[in-house]
């Protein structure tokens, strides 16, 4: 079985996020890191490989991004991936979620993975949707927010987090699965793994190499346009009811809830 893990280079968590008012895109300058959510996807792949219930032949780290994204791939390899794949092309710049998902799907097609794993969100865009878009293009089932994964007999049994509790689902492969950070604790890459990462194969692809249609990616190929960006409205200040341990306090709370039709 071949597992492809989608990974992304994002601004380091310590960097203050800002929108560039000219491009209306996230300003991605400053220190970068491997998207922390993706480290859980790689760890999940490693646990499948080491668990022995399925035969995992290789784990491939896959990214789309500028030259610097190579470092995210190195980190993914240091965490256990066997090799990596880098889609990089000026034509991709400014791609929205749908265009990015399309491009990644085309890249993945060239690998024919049995399983695509990714983190549930990226730490910068926080769209939570790439998995679904990729799955749609690949015509594979898509599962999101997965926090437990067991493999047996060519099937995966998964638990996914939902608002009402947990879904336990079975999925046949191939599939695209995005994992939540509760699924595991990623390992600490050893020095040997870090030093070895640069020696593992890394393939660089352009849009033409994987048959990406130029008019479906980049700023021009994106079907969404950001018209305006505004800060969220300031929250109304709350009302503090002092707890004086009297019936009156309770009545005040009940009245407040009642007014808002909450009870």
């Amino acid at each position: 079985m071949k597992i492809c893990c989608l990974v992304k280079e994002v601004p380091d968590a310590a960097v203050q996020k800002r929108i560039n008012p000219e491009t209306k895109r996230l300003d991605r300058s400053g220190e970068k890191n491997l998207n922390p959510f993706d480290t859980h996807a790689i760890e999940a792949a490693m646990q499948l490989k080491e668990g022995g219930d399925v035969e995992v032949d290789e784990i491939v780290a896959v990214t789309m991004g500028p030259d610097s994204a190579v470092r995210a791939l190195h980190k993914a390899v240091a965490l256990g991936a066997d090799r990596s794949l880098h889609l990089t092309d000026g034509a991709l710049e400014g791609s929205d979620v749908a265009a990015t998902g399309y491009a990644l799907a085309k890249l993945l097609e060239s690998e024919s993975p049995d399983l695509v794993l990714l983190g549930q969100q990226s730490d910068d865009g926080e769209c939570y949707t790439i998995g679904a878009v990729v799955a749609d293009h690949l015509k594979m089932p898509s599962l999101t927010q997965v926090i437990k994964m067991d493999a047996a007999g060519g099937k995966l049994t998964l638990e996914r987090q939902a608002e009402y509790g947990y879904d336990t689902v079975e999925v046949e492969l191939p599939a695209v699965i995005s994992v939540g950070d509760a699924i595991n604790e990623p390992r600490y890459p050893s020095l040997k793994a870090i030093m070895g990462a640069k020696k593992k194969p890394l393939d660089t692809k352009s849009t033409a190499d994987v048959g990406i249609e130029a008019d479906r990616v980049g700023e021009g190929g994106s079907r969404t346009a950001v018209l305006e960006i505004n800060p969220p409205p300031a929250k109304e200040s709350g009302e503090i009811i002092e707890d004086e341990d009297t019936n009156e306090t309770v009545e005040k709370i009940v009245a407040w809830l009642d007014e808002r039709k909450l009870i």
Binding site: S29, G30, E31, K32, S68, R71, H74, K75, A78, E185, Y188, P189, S190, L191, K192, I194, M195
Partner: protein
């Protein structure tokens, strides 16, 4: 013309590279999740569990600079530097850092450098796994700064030595499975009569006589040891007989660099703690960080930390390039140890009464830092070395 990199990223300080940065992140995450949360408990218990050595061994942190043939990671001194700085930086207490650091930084290096292949197998291989814990025994009740005054004596007999004497202030001394021990192999001792023997805990006559109580480094066991007719085979002689003084000197540079790195890590952490607290703590209707007295204090402290780092990294670079760095290492050791005590003291002051309490860990940092100007060669000895370097 200066070109500002458009990615907006800062380059890493020399001599570190991206690879060291990744190792740093790995160690940081480990320390933050597996050491820092337990530090208070371990400090109270005056001990951290031996299992921590096993865990660090499993993760490869005890063998960063040793070759893969011995189970190491195949790195070098710079990787070890990252390990030591990051232990302090990410919230291991001085005691935990001292216990792990004595094993990786002072006990195993002489065995690796001067040991036979057989000694590598018996001591380095299990030490890298964390299965056998090491300590370095130089100091004695009557010989501290004056190393040549060592009195523990190894009498030559057929096939080995019989050792009598004692050691004190030995980090890991209570738990150590093996002690890399400096002793006299001639009646006179001194510069030309010292040797190193590796003593093992199981040897009859080897005894831990006390676990010493101290100002700081509470989670580290500092031992007092006594040797009564301990029979040590020839296979445990480390390096040349009567060549021990050279061995002691050989690792001093590295030990002092490690202490400087630890202080640099600790100062950075203290500074962050202070900045955060100064931004949050309110007095007279504003955060205390808005009072000039406090903000200027933070500004001054930041310079101490920065200067300490610059000196230490420079000495480290020279050392790693194989250059004679005696002067720079001595200066870095001297400056950073005192600076760290001063920084810790000021950070306690910024925290007011809370600084004196356990909660924020800054009182511990102050107590832990106080060892710096004493251990690994005192401030006074550092100044003597420096003055000598200038021909005085």
């Amino acid at each position: 013309m200066t070109v500002i990199k458009d990615s907006g990223e800062r380059s890493l300080p020399t001599p570190f590279t991206q690879e060291h940065q990744e190792l740093r992140e790995s160690i940081r995450r480990f320390v933050e999740s597996e050491i820092a949360p337990h530090v208070d408990e371990w400090e109270q218990a005056r001990w951290f569990p031996d299992e921590l050595f096993l865990r660090c061994g499993e993760l490869g942190f005890l063998g960063l600079k040793y070759p893969e043939e011995l189970g190491g990671q195949g790195g070098d001194y710079l990787h070890d530097a990252v390990w030591v700085e990051e232990l302090a930086r990410s919230g291991a207490s001085g005691g935990v850092a001292a216990g792990l650091g004595a094993h990786t930084g002072i006990a195993t290096p002489p065995v690796f450098r001067f040991g036979t292949p057989d000694q590598h197998q018996r001591f380095i291989v299990p030490a890298i796994k964390g299965e056998r814990i090491g300590a370095l025994g130089i100091t004695e009740p009557g010989a501290g700064s004056d190393v040549a005054g060592i009195r523990t004596f190894a009498r030559k007999v057929n096939g080995g030595y019989v050792v009598n004497g004692s050691k004190t202030f030995i980090t890991n001394g209570v738990r150590a499975d093996f002690l890399v021990c400096a002793l006299k192999t001639t009646e006179e001792g001194g510069h030309h009569g010292l040797s190193f023997l590796i003593l093992e805990k199981e040897m009859p006559g080897y005894e831990v006589t006390a676990k010493l109580e101290k100002l700081g480094w509470h989670s580290s066991d500092t031992g007092e040891l006594s040797f009564t007719d301990v029979e040590v085979p020839d296979e445990n002689l480390l390096g040349e007989e009567n060549g021990g003084f050279y061995l002691i000197m050989a690792n001093f540079q590295w030990e002092r660099l490690l202490m400087a790195l630890g202080a640099v890590g600790a100062m950075k952490r203290l500074l962050e703690t202070a900045i955060e607290y100064a931004g949050e703590r309110q007095a007279f209707g504003r955060p205390i960080g808005r009072f000039q007295a406090i903000r200027h204090k933070v500004a001054e402290l930041s310079i101490k930390a920065e200067v300490g780092q610059a000196m230490t990294y420079n000495a480290l670079r020279l050392f790693c390039e194989g250059q004679d760095a005696l002067k720079e290492v001595t200066q870095a050791k001297l400056f950073t140890q005192r600076a760290c005590v001063e920084v810790a003291d000021e950070v306690v002051q910024i925290h007011g009464g809370y600084g004196y309490m356990r909660e924020y860990g800054v009182e511990r940092a102050l107590r832990d830092a106080r060892l710096g100007p004493i251990g690994g060669g005192t401030d006074e000895i550092m100044k003597e070395i420096l003055a000598k370097q200038y021909g005085l």
